[in-house]
Symmetry: C2
Subunit: 182 residues, 2 copies
């Protein structure tokens, strides 16, 4: 199962931290690709690359010029499936058993920006809500990914990491994986 995330309508002025949190959340909960539309943002791309260099794993971030074409292409792919996270959709718990058995494809998880165009609701295979209250696309993405991966991905070991955390009851402990120092 390959999990990818598409963030719509990134605006540098307003969204820089939210979109950074989305990218980090995508990576930490098992997605391998992060696409975004809206404003191209080299700071966003660089901070995401820096995290992967330091903490390891294969995770790439891409700017998408034309979301409509991109989404249509995704649908045409063999096994391409689109899940749009929206508070207006069907509650995740009503689809979770289905998802756990059927997500062996190439899943694109779409998370909205300010105004999501109507065609996203139409073209998506599933419009899924994480509760029906207003909250956060970061929260929605985390809970969705954590559920469909059965919390396994957030506990994975990342390849080629320079730094790793040593879990601790109190305080902060890390290990430098290049020289073994703490």
């Amino acid at each position: 199962m390959v999990l990818s995330v598409l963030r719509l309508s990134h605006r540098i002025s307003r969204d820089k931290r939210i979109t950074t949190h989305l990218a980090l959340t995508a990576r930490a909960f098992g997605a391998s690709e992060f696409f975004y539309t809206g404003d191209k943002d080299s700071n966003l791309e660089n901070s995401s690359k820096y995290v992967s260099e330091e903490w390891g794993g294969e995770f790439t971030i891409f700017f998408v010029e034309n979301p409509t074409n991109f989404i249509k292409e995704w649908k045409r792919k063999e096994g391409g499936m689109i899940v749009h996270l929206t508070m207006y959709g069907i509650e995740l718990s009503d689809k979770l058993d289905f998802f756990r058995g059927n997500l062996s494809n190439d899943i694109l998880i779409v998370v909205g920006g300010s105004k999501v165009p109507g065609y996203i609701f139409q073209i998506s295979d599933y419009n899924i809500a994480i509760g029906h209250q207003p909250h956060s696309e970061v929260a929605a993405l985390a809970v969705f990914l954590d559920n469909v991966t059965n919390s396994k991905e957030r506990k994975q070991k990342y390849t080629n990491a320079k730094t790793e955390i040593i879990p601790s009851e109190k305080g902060k402990k890390t290990m430098n994986l290049q020289d073994g120092s703490n």
Copy 2:
């Protein structure tokens, strides 16, 4: 079980949207109080109040002048327990069974700002990680609350709501609960 959230070191210039997302996430996943320290922010407070007026429920937001005193007072309360969410802590899955059986108290969930002072790690009853990778305090809070409440809170009905969503396979449907219109 009463769930409360404390957000440390809010900075208006940098954190306004992240802290708003934290407050909305706290509310949508079952917390009833949201405390924050750092910069007092009337926009943050007003947007949170607006959401509760529109979407219902009992949820209050408070500015805390002195986090050290506040946390010490919390510890002195009958049943006051502090859970600090940090990537350096013990993975949630290693404590979840314990938490589900023992969270009948007054839980304060602390989420960090930029630099969390060492005493927070010491004074907290539990330092809990949602995975050991860098991601987002919004993601951490959502996954923590959703797990300890067994996903029930995100599906609750809110009292005194003006608007409610009618879950939909495609598109957006809401109901105005005051006059029954869509």
